[in-house]
């Protein structure tokens, strides 16, 4: 049960999802196969003066009072609970936690509450002094610590961010820990809860977001000619990784394998890939090689596919460079879910495993006007049956951090 580099083979024995399409793997996956959009007009907060007034929202009970880190923690915990239950692991989790999550900071409701004693920072700092709950909520390590406590994971909870590749990085860290023999199992989570006014403004200022506010469900259009930005979204995914040996020894159902991972940083620009595509091509090739495979062994690609003009153009370039004249089908879950940023890589890894399990390629919806520059089979609009053995899942981040995973069928 070793791979081509004599490393332990790594299995997936549990999966959990929270997406704008639903709570749980079954509901989210059914939505993806049905080609259903989870994008809506934002209802959680006022949207006057915002250029973008749509998003993929996950509505949580009592959410009016929740800060982003609390939302992230709740969605992560829901996904993790589903994954751990499916894996059949009772009691403390027998390995470390790798959490892909967004950066957090004190937010406007807290800031405005502190400012009632005086609007300058010195006065706000005095008003904050000794508010232990504020401290623990907005510490970067807080979410991981509370999740580690809840699931009983071992060692330091590791929180990671590589922008839009974060979820894939969390899985890669777990994969490596098991391959190194540091752990027999790892709980890998990607979670995002950034649908709030300031993140929307920030991404709008980068001209990254779709402004198709009147047709939310048609706004996310990866690889399509009229695409004009991504749709901010939120959610979480969790995967229980385990050495195949340990999974089989305890009789767990193996849902699939994580065959390899590859990464490559770009040094070209803060929000754009090098025009030669070197880093994304490198990440894709490295992942395939890490899995001991050739490009021709990949049956299907789960795209990064954000729906920005730039990403989809570069991803097309990468696909042609890696796969040549006859690339495998590629589709974007983000056409339905939107871009869940820190969660995306993990959500899409789960979708990739379900694609293999069911032999069904989820579609890229909103494919109305083909882009002649995108010479790819994007599985337009309707899911398709296909035999899928190995999936390459792409994640390319702002800041030039690119991570690709190769997922395979259970043996």
């Amino acid at each position: 049960m070793r791979d081509h580099l004599s490393r332990p083979v790594v299995a997936v024995t549990g999966m959990g999802l929270v997406t704008p399409l639903g709570f749980g793997v079954a509901e989210s996956w059914a939505g993806l196969l049905a080609g259903r959009s989870g994008i809506q007009r934002i209802t959680r907060f006022p949207t006057e003066h915002l250029k973008t007034r749509i998003a993929g929202q996950v509505t949580l009970p009592g959410e009016e009072a929740l800060a982003s880190p609390e939302r992230v923690e709740r969605m992560a915990a829901m996904a993790a609970a589903e994954a751990v239950e499916q894996a059949g692991i009772g009691g403390p989790f027998p390995g470390p936690l790798f959490l892909g999550m967004p950066p957090v900071e004190v937010e406007w409701p807290q800031r405005l509450a502190l400012a009632r004693a005086g609007a300058g920072y010195p006065a706000m700092v005095e008003a904050a002094a000794g508010q232990r709950g504020l401290f623990e909520t907005f510490l970067f390590g807080g979410i991981g610590e509370r999740l580690a406590g809840r699931f009983g994971t071992r060692g330091v909870p590791v929180s990671v961010t590589t922008a839009c590749a974060t979820g894939a990085s969390a899985i890669q860290l777990g994969l490596e820990a098991i391959q190194r023999g540091e752990a027999a199992a790892a709980l890998c989570i990607g979670a995002e809860g950034s649908v709030a006014p300031e993140p929307l403004v920030r991404f709008s200022l980068l001209s990254a977001l779709s402004t198709r506010n009147d047709e939310p469900e048609r706004a996310s259009r990866p690889f399509e000619k009229t695409r004009e930005g991504f749709v901010l979204s939120e959610g979480a995914a969790a995967l229980v990784l385990e050495s195949l040996e340990s999974a089989q020894a305890r009789g767990a159902e193996v849902l699939g394998l994580v065959l390899g991972a590859g990464e490559r940083a770009d040094n070209f620009h803060r929000t754009r890939s090098n025009p030669d595509g070197g880093a994304i091509i490198g990440a894709m090739r490295t992942a395939i090689a890490d899995a001991g495979l050739q490009a021709g062994d990949i049956s299907y690609v789960n795209a990064h596919g954000t729906g920005t003009p730039e990403n989809d153009k570069m991803e097309t370039l990468g696909m042609r460079a890696v796969f040549g004249e006859a690339p495998p089908p590629i589709s974007s879950n983000k056409s339905m879910i939107g871009h869940t940023l820190s969660a995306a890589g993990a959500i899409e890894a789960v979708a990739s495993l379900l694609t293999i399990r069911d032999g069904m390629l989820p579609p890229t919806i909103n494919h109305e006007v083909p882009d002649p520059a995108v010479a790819l089979d994007v599985v337009p609009n309707v899911a398709r049956a296909a035999k899928v053995e190995r999936v390459l899942s792409n994640s390319f981040g702002f800041g030039g951090q690119n991570v690709c995973l190769v997922l395979g069928a259970a043996p």
Binding site: H49, A119, A129, L139, R270
Partner: protein
């Protein structure tokens, strides 16, 4: 497969200044003290940024403009480490592991919005907040705030592109970055890694977060061991290390500054028997500590973890000289553990000890130990 790991480059910038010489000198001099700015953020003393000629490490003004001080400091220190290791030619395949918090907010904008909106009912404040943010936020500020963009800037400015991972979670993130970098090199996934972090102390947004813990030291600066009731003084620190397999370093004739023998981390819940002291004691099991080893402590000044750390250290065999990193640099949160490792390596290179135990007890969570041996 387990390759020996060397530290072959140190990049340090703190209130003391930049580069290894000024920090070596401070280690040699028992009366050395950090630079203190008591006025700008009163009543909280901080250790300010040194004056740095950013052009030397970040030659493009356009790159400098895309960053705020936190990213500039880190990118600068990363460049110092590359130069110190003479590793500029290795950046294409070099792994990059960064421990990061968040970047600077626009404090003036925050204050203006707070002044206007704090007293308004939420239904009025919400739409106005959108309007003020949409008109007030600078487009470049977001990229200067994103945690992973310190690594992104290091890739852009210095060309480090083998891989890029950013860890979050205060002190523990710094230790995990080093631990995972060393583990990947030891198992043969690459030959050289750049690892570290940066923290800028002179920031009201960060002081607000840390004031909420009740742990910020107020008033006149004092040595960490001489603060009644304890307390933390944050320090501006950029700290990066070049880690390299021994085989690779020997192959290119790079000198060893210190051998990184072990990096271990734990996270006690710090309740009852699950204490930081017990966590650290478990991490120390089997470490080949010799009498007279130096201790470089990353203690923050927070009283509870400091008491736990002292209790842990008291159980070690005949320690030698003890240094609190915070007494020279202040507490640098994510940068604290890399900075303590850097000081430990410099102490060994100075001949102050043959071995150094580096500790990192987080202000809230996380215990980490590293063992360094002289070259």
């Amino acid at each position: 497969m387990s390759e020996a790991i060397w530290i072959t480059g140190i990049g340090l910038a703190s209130s003391l200044g930049e580069g290894v010489e000024v920090h070596r000198a401070a280690l040699r001099d028992p009366t050395a003290r950090p630079v203190v700015d008591a006025a700008s953020f009163a009543p909280f003393p901080i250790h300010p940024m040194p004056g740095l000629a950013f052009d030397a490490q970040i030659p493009k003004k356009g790159d400098q403009r895309q960053m705020e001080p936190w990213q500039r400091l880190g990118t600068y220190a990363a460049g110092l480490a590359l130069d110190h290791a003479e590793a500029r030619g290795l950046v294409g395949e070099m792994h990059l592991l960064v421990a990061a918090g968040g970047g600077e907010r626009d404090v003036a904008l925050d204050e203006a919005i707070c002044a206007e909106l704090a007293a308004l009912p939420p239904e009025q404040a919400g739409p106005l907040l959108n309007e003020r943010l949409a008109n007030g936020l600078r487009p470049t500020l977001f990229l200067a705030q994103l945690s992973n963009l310190l690594a992104g800037n290091i890739s852009i400015v210095h060309g480090v592109t083998g891989s890029s991972r950013t860890f979050m979670g205060e002190e523990a993130a710094g230790a995990e970055a080093v631990r995972i970098a060393a583990a990947r090199l030891a198992e043969g996934r690459g030959e050289v890694a750049l690892v570290g972090g940066a923290y800028v102390a002179g920031r009201w947004d960060m002081l607000l977060l840390h004031a909420a813990s009740g742990g910020l030291w107020r008033g006149d600066w004092a040595l960490l061991g001489e603060r009644p009731g304890g307390g933390m003084v944050t320090g501006s620190i950029g700290a990066f290390l070049v880690l390299e397999t021994e085989r690779h370093a020997r192959g290119r004739g790079a000198p060893c500054l210190a051998r990184l023998m072990a990096v271990r981390s734990g996270a006690a819940r710090r309740q009852g028997e699950d204490s930081a002291r017990a966590s650290a004691a478990a991490l120390a099991e089997g470490l080949a500590l010799r009498p007279g080893h130096a201790v470089v402590s990353g203690a923050s000044g927070m009283p509870e973890p400091l008491a736990e750390e002292r209790a842990f250290l008291a159980g070690l065999p005949e320690p030698g000289p003890m240094h609190f990193t915070a007494d020279l640099l202040g507490h640098g949160v994510e940068a604290s553990f890399p900075a303590s490792l850097a000081l430990g390596a410099l102490a060994l290179a100075e001949g102050l000890a043959g071995q150094a135990l580096v500790t990192g007890f987080g202000i809230w969570r996380g215990e980490a130990l590293a063992l360094l041996e002289a070259a």
